[in-house]
Amino acid sequence: EAGVAQSPRYKIIEKRQSVAFWCNPISGHATLYWYQQILGQGPKLLIQFQNNGVVDDSQLPKDRFSAERLKGVDSTLKIQPAKLEDSAVYLCASSLDQLAGGQIRGEQFFGPGTRLTVL
């Protein structure tokens, strides 16, 4: 089974430029997540999609970050304009939702991430 794919793997940009990341989840996984992992910290959820609808974007800085998941499969995350503090690894994950015990459960499978450096 193919894993979660992400591209590019590395990106270096200057502040105020824009950048986009792409994610292709595992086939059949309805839920897709974008995380930001700053050096020395754990991943922080930015946005969560269920099919092509947003479930949670409470921690997404909406003045500069946007994400979409057209057709409920691939997703893109965009930053415009980038700031120095956006330097981080951006992780995409997907899960196959299973209803159990009154909640949605499913192991999240992570992609390799995109390492963004903002100069």
């Binding site: 991943p43 959820l45 949605i104 999240q108």
Partner: protein, 114 residues
């Protein structure tokens, strides 16, 4: 709000030593708990998870974790580590309602010397 604390940021052990990594969560309700591992150059992957039932959870590669509700803890253990266990370990929690929203700790870097 949920939060997860991992107090050991760096741990160095010799092969065959026993391992215990601390994890504490703060959330008043029922939680799900997870340990993830990231080996050098690899993706984050799930080691083990706790949703309910037996508080002693066994995962892959000989790891186990114990959920102690009274201590808000979910410590990771392995009786005898190997050089191949060198990795970064993340504890995470999610609320036991609705969709899973994982909240991660800051991680613990484990170095096992041969």
């Amino acid at each position: 709000a949920q939060s997860v604390s991992q107090h050991n940021h760096h741990v160095i052990l010799s092969e065959a030593a026993s391992l215990e990594l601390g994890c504490n969560y703060s959330y008043g309700g029922t939680v799900n708990l997870f340990w993830y591992v990231q080996y050098p150059g690899q993706h984050l992957q799930l080691l083990l998870k706790y949703f309910s039932g037996d508080p002693l959870v066994k995962g892959i590669k000989g790891f186990e974790a114990e959920f102690i509700k009274s201590k808000f803890s979910f410590n990771l253990r392995k009786p005898s580590v190997q050089w191949s266990d060198t990795a970064e370990y993340f504890c995470a929690s999610s609320m036991n309602t609705g969709f899973q929203k994982l909240v991660f700790g800051t991680g613990t870097r484990l170095l096992v010397s041969p």
